[in-house]
């Protein structure tokens, strides 16, 4: 299949002209508005609540506390999130009291007048503190929550523990290795940075609950809400919406259980739109990490063993992520080398901080930063060029990745990829790096760094789509997928149009309600491209085989399809002013192993956006958590990359890979973000001789490193 005629994106005109409606733009008759009073303390007992001043404010319809609600704790996997804090608060920003009023501003102003008396409790605001003996407990009995994976014996403040391999074996292998490095790498809390604040509308209508939520996963949301409100799932309808950015931050039930209950109690549709500060301090962020890496090589630079001891900050609640095992990703993400002896222990701790969740390639940016930094440090130790050392160790087609099964404690499916196009991709990156030079300011230091990442494309879970004829030889495709911005609807349109020989203009793709199609897991794990392409294959076959002019509906599950992998090799080119530490990332080169690309522009934007998100993680972004509080609490303090900040980006596609389905596709959404930070850290080390093992790599951090000893 060729790239075909792309044509403009189906949603481009309505988005650019401002006519696309997002949840915040929707108004219903009789609608009322909710706001919440949030905790100002990381850990405190709620002693008394006085709402009398708030109740008297103009427009206020009611004030509600936890005891007024019939809502069970909810969450995506672990159900540990209360709609409003009950006896105590567990992070700064936690909702305690809800106010419903006839306008948003009235609700917000009244919420400020709620008086809450707290009794301070000792807090554990770092994962190190939280796992220390005698630490104050975030949850008295975390193992009791529905969906918990922790046992009472493991107990304490742990959300999850994953152990793979044998510590004794890895210790022995490292002890007999010619070269060994042993370092700790640390990453900060960063936010998804979607620009649409969280928004929800809940409305009871004809004895059914209708939800409009900025959420990427309608069917799981329906299950979570019905469990939380003790409803039969058939009583809940998730309405189609357009999402203003996700990146993993729009997957939890968020304020939907609260709004649903407020709607039941007030008898009115309830709308709640967060202010962006609320998104920063009180939704979820990427797990901060502390990762000890021990890595050994023999005299020829062949890896002998790799050991990880990972401690992740899980925040106050685990329910924001689809699996409590973010640690799993920490084990599976760095898997692009042939590693004879592997060990990992990954612990995720509850802390008295804003909850942590999954964000674009969960666990990947943390682990790849640690792994690819350590790999360069090991190459330096062994006196081998880092590119050459990668060439010797990277997985190649024909290699048996003995660790693949071991690194899959959840048994997600076969992990051995069909092919490893590592050398082609590495060669492409190196060729792109060598074909140009940069002008560097007088007296500045120049450096280059490289980092590699192997990413599987999976096709997990069932999905259903429906093809229906429209008058005038047109075709309607109904999908369960939310258009999060990636262009997934447009991709479905192009696949269907090509397969059935329609012009894209003759095909419309619409998301329908959860009533209309059966379960789909939603956007996540870069699954939509692969599952949708399999679904289109099946739907096209059914369409061709139908007898009359009826609609066809297909449900597929290709979870068992052999995973295909992609290699990403990135090169960072940097200049550093040795006098001030100022860092300029001159260029980021990404070599990307691809199969067929359905839409070149959409694919390229996923690449560029992923690289820029990696750059923000590497150099700019930090929620600045301290003492249990997010201090970078607005987008002036929290530095998202602007058009002016981004380095020159260059992409080299390495075509010819084997992908999923007839369309022969690989995922791209999560592939580019993980390696950026290590490539930059390695380039800074190349330029300055100083190794930065903690993100973000700011000019200030480089200045301090230059002033200190070489380490």
């Amino acid at each position: 299949m060729s790239a075909g005629r792309a044509g403009p994106r189906m949603d481009a005109e309505s988005k650019a002209s401002g006519s696309t409606k997002y949840v915040a733009d929707i108004e219903l008759p009789e609608m009322v508005y909710a706001a919440v009073t949030r905790s100002g303390y990381p850990h405190a007992r709620i002693q008394s609540i006085n709402t009398s001043a708030a109740d008297e404010m103009p427009g206020v319809i009611g004030t509600f506390r936890a005891s007024d609600l019939a809502v069970r704790p909810y969450g995506r996997a672990v159900r540990d999130i209360p709609a409003l804090a009950e006896s105590k608060v567990r992070y700064v920003g936690e909702p305690v009291v809800a106010v419903v009023a006839s306008s948003r501003l009235e609700a917000e102003r009244a919420a400020e007048l709620v008086e809450i008396e707290y009794g301070m409790l000792p807090s554990a605001t770092t994962p190190e503190d939280a796992v220390a003996s005698g630490a104050p407990l975030v949850h008295e009995a975390a193992s009791d929550y529905v969906g918990a994976v922790i046992t009472p014996q493991q107990g304490g403040n742990l959300q999850s523990v994953v152990t793979v391999g044998s510590r004794a074996e890895v210790d022995a292998a490292l002890a007999s290795s010619a070269y060994v490095v042993d370092h700790v790498y640390q990453t900060q809390a960063v936010h998804h940075g979607y620009l649409e604040p969280h928004a929800c509308i809940a409305s009871w209508h004809n004895a059914r609950l209708h939800i409009w939520l900025a959420s990427k996963a309608p069917h799981p949301l329906k299950a979570q809400i019905s469990a939380s409100l003790n409803l039969d799932p058939s009583e809940v309808v998730i309405e189609p919406i357009t999402l203003g950015g996700d990146f993993g931050g729009k997957g939890s039930p968020m304020e939907a259980p609260l709004c649903a209950e407020l709607s039941r109690l007030t008898g009115r549709p309830v709308k709640m739109v967060l202010r962006y500060t609320d998104d920063l301090i009180a939704t979820e962020s990427r797990h901060p990490s502390r990762i000890r890496v021990r890595m050994g090589a023999d005299a020829d630079g062949q890896l002998t063993a790799v050991a990880y001891d990972v401690l992740l900050d899980g925040g106050a609640y685990g329910g924001y992520k689809p699996s409590p095992h973010v640690a799993i990703h920490s084990v599976t993400e760095p898997g692009c080398y042939l590693i004879p002896v592997f060990f990992a222990e990954c612990r995720t701790a509850y802390t008295h901080t804003v909850p942590k969740g999954h964000m674009r390639a969960p666990g990947g940016p943390q682990m790849v930063f640690a792994t690819e930094s350590a790999f360069d440090e090991l190459a330096l130790e062994a006196g081998i060029d880092p590119i050459e050392m990668r060439r010797r160790n990277i997985l190649k087609t024909g290699d048996v990745d003995a660790q693949a099964a071991a690194r899959d404690p959840l048994e997600l499916g076969p992990r051995q990829w069909q092919e490893y196009r590592s050398i082609e991709t590495l060669d492409a990156a190196v060729a792109a790096m060598r074909d140009h030079t940069h002008e560097v300011p007088e007296g500045w230091l120049f450096g280059r760094g490289i980092a590699a990442y192997g990413r599987g494309t999976f096709s997990y879970g069932t999905t259903t789509i429906r093809l229906a004829p429209l008058p005038g030889e047109r075709l309607r495709v109904e999908v369960p997928y939310v258009e999060t911005g990636t262009g997934s609807h447009n991709m479905v349109r192009e696949l269907v149009a090509r397969a059935l020989d329609y012009s894209p203009d003759e095909v419309e793709v619409v998301q329908v309600t959860t009533d209309d199609l059966s379960f789909d897991a939603g956007a996540g794990g870069s699954r939509i491209t692969s599952v949708a392409s399999y679904a289109v294959d099946a739907a096209v076959k059914a369409w061709r085989g139908r007898l009359g002019d009826e609609a066809v509906q297909v449900t597929i599950d290709e979870t068992a399809a052999p995973p295909v992998g992609s290699f990403i090799v990135q090169v960072a080119e940097v200049a550093v002013d040795p006098a001030t530490g100022q860092l300029k990332v001159l260029e980021l080169i990404s070599a990307v192993d691809v199969a067929n690309v359905v839409n070149e522009k959409a694919h390229q934007m996923q690449i560029d956006g992923g690289v820029v998100m990696g750059y923000g993680f590497a150099c700019l972004e930090d929620l600045d958590e301290a003492d249990g509080q997010v201090w970078a609490a607005n987008l002036g303090e929290y530095k998202l990359p602007t058009a002016r900040d981004v380095p020159s980006l260059r992409t080299v596609l390495v075509p010819g890979g084997r992908g999923h389905g007839t369309a022969n596709v690989k995922a791209i959404a999560e592939s580019l973000t993980p390696p950026v930070a290590a490539a930059i850290a390695n380039a800074v080390a190349d330029a300055t001789g100083r190794r930065l093992r903690r993100l973000p790599i700011t000019s200030e951090a480089i200045f301090a490193a230059l002033a200190g000893p070489v380490s």
């Binding site: 403009p8 994106r9 949603d11 481009a12 005109e13 309505s14 988005k15 650019a16 002209s17 401002g18 006519s19 696309t20 409606k21 997002y22 915040a24 733009d25 998804h192 940075g193 979607y194 620009l195 649409e196 604040p197 357009t242 999402l243 203003g244 950015g245 996700d246 990146f247 739109v273 202010r275 962006y276 500060t277 999060t484 911005g485 990636t486 262009g487 522009k601 959409a602 390229q604 934007m605 690449i607 560029d608 956006g609 992923g610 690289v611 820029v612 998100m613 607005n634 987008l635 002036g636 998202l640 602007t642 058009a643 002016r644 900040d645 981004v646 980006l649």
Partner: protein, 149 residues
């Protein structure tokens, strides 16, 4: 209080609270192209044109618009169709939440700096954040719009 102003070339008179922000007033009139993002004048989602200059309407007091000419994305794409053509052809968008603000900023850029270079475009557009695209497609949309003069 009463606010009299011109909105997308149409004379309007509306009752507003003295502390109302222009963004909320415009949205309450059904023009929801401008969005609230950061709420502190950083992200650019709420960009509107007031007397030919771009403003962050989330922190612009509506009362200050008295007697002024305000344009929203809805009005601008009708006034200058080449704006829409550039963003659609170049696909300068993904999720679309920042796009109306980008389009409005592109409009004022063309009036202020019709010969802007790519670097100048990036400098000018730095007040309009985008988390999806990495900016290359937005920058090329703006450059194409500038060329269609």
């Amino acid at each position: 209080m009463e606010l009299r102003f011109t909105l997308n070339d149409e004379a309007r008179s509306v009752q507003i609270a003295p502390d109302a922000m222009l963004l909320d007033v415009v949205r309450s009139l059904g023009l929801t192209g401008a969005k609230e993002g950061c709420g502190v004048g950083i992200c650019g989602l709420c960009t509107l044109v007031v007397d030919d200059l771009p403003v962050s309407s989330c922190i612009y007091l509506a009362a200050l618009a008295e007697g002024r000419s305000v344009w929203t994305v809805e009005g601008l794409v009708a006034r200058d169709p080449s704006l829409l053509v550039a963003f659609v052809e170049q696909e300068g968008l993904q999720c679309g939440i920042c796009t109306p603000g980008q389009v409005v900023a592109a409009y004022t850029l063309k009036r202020e700096f019709p010969n802007a270079s790519e670097n100048e475009v990036r400098e000018y557009m730095a007040g309009n954040l985008c988390r999806c695209t990495g900016y290359a497609s937005i920058t090329s949309s703006v450059l194409v719009y500038l060329e269609n003069r």
